[in-house]
Point group: C2
Chain length 339, copies 2
């Protein structure tokens, strides 16, 4: 499978240098280290830091949310691999302004292990940290084992609310509580139509049948709930809403944020067609949608497919979601998102 | 090839309904007609109208640039097919505020034929129009036949400058002149790695060899300059810059806008890796880059590949490019673009 790159070994470095070349006035490498991106947007100096980390290959996740009203920093590893604890610790130190740092990331063993080490490390410098993990993928474990669930696209909405809370000047405990509440009220399910290629592997690391759709497949190709014959856009939307509602009931009159997230190769037209059905299904039962997100927010390189995320809002979360935020890859205004 | 849709016949309608469902507070269907999208952003009432039209299947082109400081309206046809003259005329009438309407679109026979009819039609109502065509694809004809060249991603930069000129209150002649000058100074070349699937056809309408890259292929799969064995990202950037410079020389000390545009299935990482090389090649010869655009701006559904566009700026065009603009799919601020 063909990829537009120089060498597999320089894939992450070249990507990071591309980000710095394009957007170096707004974000930049920490001390020239291509493993850590930090915000250069103007910001208040008494702000709690909000950071993340994860494997490469998911742009705009994770790097694309370093910005204003979003993340202060992001450490990245190789494609689909965690960065080291050392890089995470460097980032946390750089993003602390004396009020502590929230580490907000997906529930994967490598990231969890390394972030714990990094937090222990910076504790020696009296930097206070909190860790909040995204476990929004309903397909990755049954409800009784929800703590095992993986973090996927829903994490982006927690970046948004926690980033806004930090921007407002809230303290570390409060910012962490906002992130946790956001994720407690967020569910995602993904659908994969084709695999992706890790540069160093050079061929698909898993397969999807020619006429099949994988329901609940993870963003690294982790097995999902089931394999089905290819479904229509409306059937995908129905199954997504049903699966999410079975795990997190929605009530008439309540408001949610919906994200339809393209995994990489799926055209925006198709994402909008699925959104159309999600919108009509939720509207029909009296659930309002605030600030829909339709586009590529968390990808798996050239994987075809999409995920559907629902976040149940309350007054505070709605306000934080709609607060202005900007990065080179994401914009939110009171009028909504804009890409 | 699998697509997330309901029926091929409802592909465009469903997409348009998805746009209205997601962004109906900012853009909307004209009188409920799914062939015409118009801006609902607040705007000055003495503004020249700027509109476009084209086939579906290229999102965010064309619909995604209906917004504020951008386009007032867009008519769309079926996938890769022109809308009718009637829909274009409806749109022009809706977007005229007494100061005339600029029709700004790509050089394709169907669009040209229909826009001419539409302009004749609205002339009966004393609506003044001007037509400016994008012919930025250097690979589609040699310099001596430049008038035959197709319009591709460079059109987006003309939407931006002409939209800003209209927003500033300039008259129809002046707005048309801005669009024309932008396009006179814009060149694009595309590279395709894989084909795309038109929903009603259901299989790829052209092919790209397993280990090949098509240099200069058009956004509907039109033949390009040559087929080459797969190239590295840096080689692609080199060939792009060389080809553009051979057609439009760049001078040390001048400033350009660069767009690296993903055609659909190519990951953002790879687009950034190509941008990195374009940036370093231009920087090395003393050409400055203003407001780089890296992302999907004009796609061919799930085609893999990308295009590189260079716009030679002058003081007026730089200012118009950097003027604030927003749509559900595009944001520009003085700090740069943001997706």
């Amino acid at each position: 499978m063909k990829k537009l790159l120089n060498t597999a070994d320089s894939f992450v470095r070249d990507t990071m240098e591309g980000i710095e070349a394009a957007y170096g006035d707004r974000v930049g490498l920490l001390d020239g280290d291509y493993r850590v991106l930090v915000s250069r947007y103007p910001t208040r100096q008494d702000k709690v830091g909000v950071v993340t980390a994860g494997g490469s290959g998911h742009l705009p996740l994770f790097l694309g949310y370093v910005g204003q009203g979003l993340l202060d920093g992001c450490a990245v590893g190789e494609v689909f691999a965690s960065p080291s604890a050392q890089k995470m610790a460097d980032m946390i130190r750089a993003c602390d302004r004396g009020r502590g740092v929230l580490c907000l990331y997906g529930n994967y063993n490598g990231d969890l292990f390394n972030f714990r080490m990094a937090c222990d490390d910076v504790d020696l410098d009296d930097i206070e940290t909190r860790q909040v993990l995204a476990r929004d993928d309903v397909a990755s474990a049954p409800p009784e084992e929800a703590s095992r669930r993986r973090g996927v696209a829903g994490l982006v909405l927690a970046f948004k609310t926690a980033g806004a809370a930090a921007q407002e000047g809230l303290g570390l405990e409060e910012v962490a509580a906002v992130a946790q509440r956001t994720l407690d009220r967020t569910r995602t399910i993904g659908f994969a139509l084709s695999p992706c290629v890790v540069p160093r592997v050079g061929e698909p690391t898993f397969s999807v049948g020619e006429d099949d759709i994988e329901v609940g497949m993870g963003i690294h190709g982790e097995a999902g709930i089931e394999t089905r014959p290819m479904m229509s856009a409306h059937e995908v939307a129905q199954l997504a809403v049903e699966t999410i509602e079975a795990d997190m009931p929605l009530s008439e009159g309540e408001e949610v944020c919906v994200m339809v997230n393209g995994l990489g190769a799926t055209p925006l037209e198709e994402q909008l067609i699925v959104y159309r059905s999600v919108h009509s299904l939720l509207s029909a039962r009296g659930v309002g949608i605030v600030m829909p997100h339709v586009g590529e927010y968390a990808t798996s390189m050239e994987m075809a497919g999409l995920s559907v995320t629902v976040l149940r809002l309350d007054d505070q979360l709605r306000g934080l979601l709609q607060a202005p935020a900007v990065s080179p890859f994401y914009t939110a205004t009171s009028a909504g998102t804009s890409r």
